[in-house]
Amino acid sequence: MSEILLNNQVIVYLVSESILFVLMLIALLPTIKIVIKWKFYSFSQEQFALEKRAYLVATIVDFIFVVKFFLLIYFVFTIDALSILVPGAMCAAGVVSANDYGMPLLFFKLLILFVMLLWMTLHRYDLEAKEYPFMRYKSWLFIAIFVLVVVEMLLEIGYFTHIDTRRVVSCCSALFGQLEGANPLPFGLDMLKMIIRFYLLYFVNIVALIARYRALTMTSSILFLIISYYSVVYFFGTYVYELPTHKCPFCMMQKEYYFIGYLVWGSLFGGVSISLVWAIMGSLFGIDKSIYRNISVLFISIFVLICTSYVVVYYFRNGVFL
C-alpha cells in the first residue's frame, strides 16, 4: 500500500468522496424515473410520488454541493500537506503534477461545482414557478453531473494511487518559471499588454453585467478567467511572494502568505461562475435575477482589489515595482 494512502487527510478525503458518490447513486434512480415518467398534469399516485422524490434529489444535490465546496478547499489543503512526502515538491503544485491525473482532477472539481451551481439555480426557479417547468432539464443536468462525478471519481482513484513517493517531481519554480526564450503567457502577450487586458476585461465584464449584455458577459467572463489565471501566476503572485522569480498558483495558499490564495482563487472562480450562471440562465431559460449580477460584480471586484492592492502596497513600501 502506498504511503500516500495512509495519510489521515487522504483517507478522510477519499471516504467523504465515496459517501457523496453513494448519495449520487441514490439520487440517480428517481432522476431517471423522472426523465421517463414525469407528467405534471397527471393526478396519478405515481406522479405525486415522483414530485416527492424530486425533493430527495434536490436535498442530496444541495448537500453534495456544500460538501464538495469544502472538499475542494480540503483537497488543496491536503495535497499541500502531502508535499512533505513527495520528493522535490515544495507546495501543492509539485504534488498535483506528480502524475497526469492531478491537473484534470482539479479542473473537473471546478467544473462539477459550476454545473451544480447551475442545477441549484434552475431548481430554485423551478420551485418558484407553478408547474415545475424545468424538471426535465434539471434531471438531464443531474445525469450530466453524475457522469462528471464518475469521471472525477476515476481520476481521483488514479491520482492518489499513482503518486510515486520515490520519483522526484518538479517544484513550482520549475513548473511555472520562465524557460529561456519561451513565453509562457497566452496569446503571445507580454506582461504589460496582459495586465492592461486584465483591467480592461474586468471593466468590460462589469459593464456587461450591469447593462445585462448576456453574450458579452459570457465571453468577457471566460476571457477574464483565462487572463486572470496567468496574471495572478506570472504577475500578481510575484507581489504576494515579494520575489520576482516565484511564480506559483499554489504557494499563496500556504500559511506563510496568510492563506490569501484561497480568497484570491475563491473570489475569481466564484465571481466568474456566478456571472456565467446568470448569463446561461437568462439566455436558455429566461431567468433573470439581479442578485446574481450583484454578487458576481462584488466577487470579481474583490478579486481585482486584492490583486491590485498587493502591487500598490509593495510599491508604497519599497518605492519600486518588482
Binding site: V12, V15, Y55, F77, I84
Partner: protein
C-alpha cells in the same frame, strides 16, 4: 431571510425535545473524543519531531560497511569541506549505553563544548552551562528519564559507567537537560566528546558520524549526490528524508486507528439511520400538523437538518474540547503508550499542545459528512409527510 422566527422555533423545538437527540449526541461525543484524542497525540508528536529535526543539521554523513553503521575517521571532514556549498561540518559521537540489567538504555551524546554546535538546541544548552566547572572533571548532563532511573537505582549524584575494556569510569551528574526538547532528550546523556568516546569504546581518531549544512535548499539534491560519490562506504541522510520517515511512521499509527474508527463509524451510520427513522416516525403526526398549517417540504427539511447539524456541532465542540483536556492537560493516560511504544527508558512525556487545522477540519469533515448523509433519507421521508395525516 426569514431567519428570526424560524430560528426561534427551531431552538424551541430542539431544546423541548432534546431527549430525542440525547443518545445520538452522547455516542457522537464519545466517537469524536476518541478520534480527536488519537489525532491530537499524533500531531503533537509529529510537531515536536519537526521542531527538533528543524533545529538539526541538514545532512548526516555516515559510514556503512556490510550494511552496518561503523565509525568513520575524522579526516573525512576535510574532504567534505572541499565540496562547494557545504558549510559547518561537525563531528558527532553518540551511542546507546545499556545499564547493568542490560534492559534499560540511555543515549550518550558526546559534544565538543568548545566548538560551534550543529544543533541549535545544543547551542543553547552549551550556553547555559558553566564550562569551566563542567570540563574540570568528568561531568554529564542527563535527561529527565535518565535522572529518574539513576535515582531509583541509588545513583543520585553520578554513575560508574563500564567501558568496553572492562574499566569503570565515574561520571557525576552536573545537571539536567531543560524540558523544552522533552521527547528527544528524555533518555539522553550529554557529555564531552572525549569522555563519550571512552565509554562507548570509540577510537580517538574516529567519530560516529558527521553533520553538515547546505544553506541553499536548491543544491540539496546535487550536493547529496556529490558527497555520496566521495567514498565507496559513505551514506548521506538528508533532513527531509528523516522528516518523511517520521511522518510515515506516525501516519501509519494514526492511519490504522483511523481505519478502525471508520469501521465503527460505518456501524454508527446504520444505527443513526434506524434511530432517526424511528424518532421521525414517532413525530409523524406533528409533522403532518406542521404541513397542514402551511409548512412546506422545504421548511420541514430545513428544520430537521438544522436539528441534525446542531447535534453534530454540539458533539464536535464538546468532543474536541474533552479530547484537548485529556491529551494536553491530563497527559493522555493509556492512549499515549500506543504511540511511543515501551522502548524508551521512561516515556512520561509532556505533549506540546498543538491544534492543527488539518486535524480539526478532518475530524469535522468526516463526522459531519457521515452523520448528515445517514440522516438525509429519513429526514426527507418525514418531510414529505402528507398534510392530510393531521386529519387522521
Amino acid at each position: 431571510m426569514r431567519s428570526s422566527p424560524f430560528l426561534y422555533f427551531f431552538t424551541l423545538q430542539f431544546f423541548r425535545e432534546y431527549k430525542n437527540h440525547l443518545a445520538t449526541t452522547v455516542i457522537s461525543i464519545a466517537l469524536i473524543f476518541l478520534l480527536s484524542a488519537v489525532l491530537f497525540i499524533s500531531s503533537s508528536i509529529k510537531y515536536s519531531i519537526d521542531i527538533s529535526l528543524g533545529a538539526q543539521a541538514d545532512f548526516v554523513v555516515e559510514r556503512v560497511r556490510g550494511g552496518k553503521k561503523v565509525d568513520l575517521p575524522i579526516e573525512w571532514i576535510d574532504t567534505l569541506l572541499e565540496t562547494r556549498g557545504v558549510q559547518k561540518v561537525t563531528t558527532r559521537v553518540h551511542g546507546r549505553y545499556f545499564f547493568e540489567d542490560k534492559r534499560e538504555w540511555a543515549l550518550i551524546v558526546g559534544i565538543d563544548f568548545m566548538d560551534e554546535q550543529s544543533n541549535r538546541a545544543l547551542e543553547k544548552l552549551v550556553e547555559s552551562v558553566d564550562l569551566e566547572k563542567f570540563l574540570f572533571s568528568s561531568n554529564m548532563l542527563v535527561g529527565d528519564g535518565v535522572q529518574r532511573y539513576l535515582k531509583e537505582h541509588f545513583y543520585p549524584k553520578g554513575y560508574n559507567f563500564l567501558t568496553p575494556d572492562g574499566k569503570y569510569k565515574k561520571v557525576s551528574i552536573f545537571g539536567t537537560i531543560p524540558n523544552s526538547l522533552n521527547l528527544m532528550s528524555n533518555n539522553m546523556i550529554i557529555m564531552p566528546q572525549e569522555l563519550a568516546k571512552e565509554i562507548l569504546g570509540i577510537k580517538k581518531s574516529m567519530v560516529t558520524d558527521l553533520t553538515l549544512n547546505v544553506p541553499n535548499d536548491n543544491l540539496w539534491d546535487s550536493i547529496s549526490d556529490k558527497i555520496a560519490s566521495l567514498y565507496y562506504d559513505i551514506r548521506v541522510l538528508t533532513k527531509r528524508e528523516m522528516q518523511k520517515a517520521y511522518e510515515n511512521m506516525y501516519n501509519y499509527k494514526s492511519g490504522v486507528f483511523l481505519m478502525l474508527f471508520l469501521i465503527t463509524m460505518a456501524t454508527f451510520v446504520l444505527i443513526l439511520y434506524q434511530r432517526y427513522s424511528m424518532v421521525f416516525s414517532s413525530q409523524r403526526r406533528n409533522i403532518g400538523l406542521l404541513r397542514a398549517v402551511g409548512w412546506s417540504i422545504r421548511d420541514i427539511l430545513k428544520l430537521k437538518l438544522y436539528e441534525s447539524l446542531m447535534v453534530v456541532l454540539v458533539s464536535y465542540v464538546i468532543g474536541v474540547s474533552l479530547a484537548y483536556l485529556y491529551v494536553f492537560v491530563f497527559d493522555s493516560p493509556v492512549l499515549i503508550d500506543m504511540f511511543l511504544g515501551g522502548e524508551n527508558l521512561d516515556h512520561k512525556i509532556k505533549l506540546i499542545p498543538v491544534v492543527d487545522f488539518g486535524v480539526l477540519s478532518s475530524i469535522f469533515l468526516i463526522y459531519t459528512v457521515a452523520f448528515i448523509a445517514s440522516v438525509l433519507i429519513p429526514t426527507w421521508s418525514i418531510a414529505v409527510t402528507d398534510p392530510k395525516e393531521a386529519m387522521l
